[in-house]
Amino acid sequence: MNVKKISKLLPLVLSGVLMCGTASAPLTASAGEPYDVYNYDRWGEAIPSQAGYTAERSVSGIDLGIGHMKSPSDIFCDADHNFYITDSDNNRIIVVDSEFTRVIKTYYGFRMPNGTETKLSKPMGIYVSPVNGYMYVADNKNSRVLIADKDGNFVSEITKPDSEIYGSSRTFLPQRVLADKAGNVYVVLNNITTGAAMFSPEGEFTGFYGANRVEPTAEIVRNYIFNLFASEEKKAHKARNVPSGITSFDIDGDFIFTCSESGTQTTDTVKKLNAAGNNIFANLQLEFGDRVPMYDSAQNKLMRTAIVDIDIAEDGNINCLDYTTGRVFQYDEDCNLLFITGTKAKQLGGFEAATAVESCGDSLYVLDSSKNTVTIFKETSFGEIVHTANKLYNEGRYEEALEPWYEVLKRDGNYRRANKGVALALLRKGDYKGAMKYAKLAEAPNIYNKAFEGYRREFLKAHFSQIAAASAAVIALLLILSRKRNKKRASAAASAAKRLEEDDQELKKKEEG
């Protein structure tokens, strides 16, 4: 009897144990990544999400057959989809083909017009202009920006400007470089906080571009008030308020995007600058990187976001590389967070000291200066759908984006961009009720407002006769009620007056009697 009971109960118990096991499994939305994939909701809380990119492989110098790379610092993908890597401590630039299988060329130096060779010394940044095909190399230890063609011929160089604006006591150590369509050259320099140095196509220094602002912290405000009353002598001895410098930048058409790695600063970490150097993101209250810095108990420190490199993809998406956590934050052109990829780890997909990010086609390339590798991230199928939908959405083709957004929601119901996209598409289509539902899910009051306006208009149109009849009935009822009440009051007053009169008469009678 007992045994029978137990054997009956056993499967139940077993299934219970199994269910407990599955319920307590970690919340990993996708398999394969050595980290939990997450996204942020409207309230800045991290929620599990699907991965948009997955690490495919990592490539080292040995894999490419050119020996170990030593502290590589920058990677660039040119118009022909060839990759340029500055192998800083080996004093060379490596050109790799688009598949990352073969080295096309290695530059140690460039041929001068007089036949001699000029060597590179710790090249830190590289840019290849799609207009003239020249390479712009930030030749850090040589204190110059070197411009050369792809055959290895020296074209020109930019050295420390002999200008009062630049200041003779400052060093000239180029870190990153890029050139715009007109051939103006922009250089990010070590230890210079006044912005990127800007040079004309002829190599003439024309000024600084896009300096960061000083964040108005309590200390800064206090110093400002103090300085209003302080003497010149006192002011000279006080520490100056200096903004953090630009760490890296990228160009996309007419706009230059800059980033700053300062962990303590929250303003101007990522900027979108127009030709005049004005920041378009300045007053949008955008946040980049992790909302709440993660606390690392092993090192007893806060992992504050330090965005060391920025890259603008061909479709306008913004990739920001966070050195502290080894994460790539991908935003769309309106700075909506799309994906968070990568971590700090030894495994594939993790980094020790991520220094540069580059995108090409549907892949992300992250350079690690400690592992001396390039990690290649491929777009997942989820990422592909999101990117297609987002592209359609940003072009204003909301209705065409509807199908892909539905597909995104099928895979990740918490994906806020998708709810927003569906809401806008339905609004455009005239399905106001559906738009209201999805606007609520996306927590987007402005879209909800528009949808509600349409819904209300349709509701009033459809039910106008009922509403009119009901309001007429209510008004009539109120009128009747108030008339009745008036009558009641009048009769009550009349009876009261009568009573008074009777009382008076009785009194009189008594007096008479």
Binding site: W43, E45, M436, A439, F452, R456
Partner: protein, 209 residues
């Protein structure tokens, strides 16, 4: 004259901002029960104000709902007002008892409560462009309540205009002091609690050895 039931007195007081409370005082009317009910309605109104507005007028984070702030915004602040006013006005030759201050102040809150419920209803019918209507109702409701509250204090203590203003300013100061002391007291209690719990933990560790 003026033989009204308690409910009719509420209506009379609210609709006659100048002499309503004087009449009530003359007739020694007003009910504590009704005033408590009004404070309860105020509590509901504050919750409705914070949570039930139409989605187009703002998003609320449902995950973080807590009843405490709403309790503080209604019951605690009303109690602080009554106690503070009583404390101040007994020193300033006020004639009102605590019971009367409570009743009169509660009655004068009715326009505000009505305004909140009306605007919450309106927010589900209107869109963002029509927010002026909500603002208009809001201004009327709050203004009415302020006038009533002023008249209530004036007649409950039989003050002149100037003295009422002075008393109200002092009452607000008293409320702030009380809330400050309350916070201080709470943090003290918390520290004592932490102290006791630490001793308890310490003891349990020792006992185990």
């Amino acid at each position: 004259m003026m033989d009204l039931t308690q409910r009719e007195w509420v209506r009379h007081a609210v609709t006659h901002p100048v002499e309503g409370f004087e009449d009530m005082r003359w007739k020694k009317s007003g009910s504590v029960k009704i005033s408590f009910f009004i404070v309860f309605l105020l509590f509901l109104a504050q919750i409705a104000n914070g949570r039930l507005f139409g989605f187009q007028f703002g998003v609320v984070h449902d995950k973080t709902f807590s009843i405490i702030p709403y309790l503080v915004q209604s019951v605690v602040i009303f109690a602080a007002w009554v106690v503070g006013n009583w404390a101040v006005c007994t020193l300033l030759d006020g004639e009102g008892t605590m019971k009367n201050i409570c009743i009169y102040s509660a009655y004068s809150l009715i326009p505000y409560i009505a305004e909140v419920f009306i605007t919450v209803l309106m927010s589900h019918i209107l869109i963002q462009d029509e927010i002026v209507f909500i603002q208009a109702v809001r201004i009327i409701g709050v203004g009415w309540t302020v006038i009533l509250l002023f008249s209530a204090i004036k007649s409950v203590h039989q003050y002149s205009f100037g003295k009422t203003v002075f008393a109200i300013v002092l009452t607000i100061a008293a409320m702030l002091i009380m809330l400050f002391l309350l916070v201080l007291f709470m943090s003290l209690v918390q520290q004592v609690w932490v102290f006791i719990s630490t001793i308890y933990t310490e003891l349990t560790y020792r006992l185990r050895v």
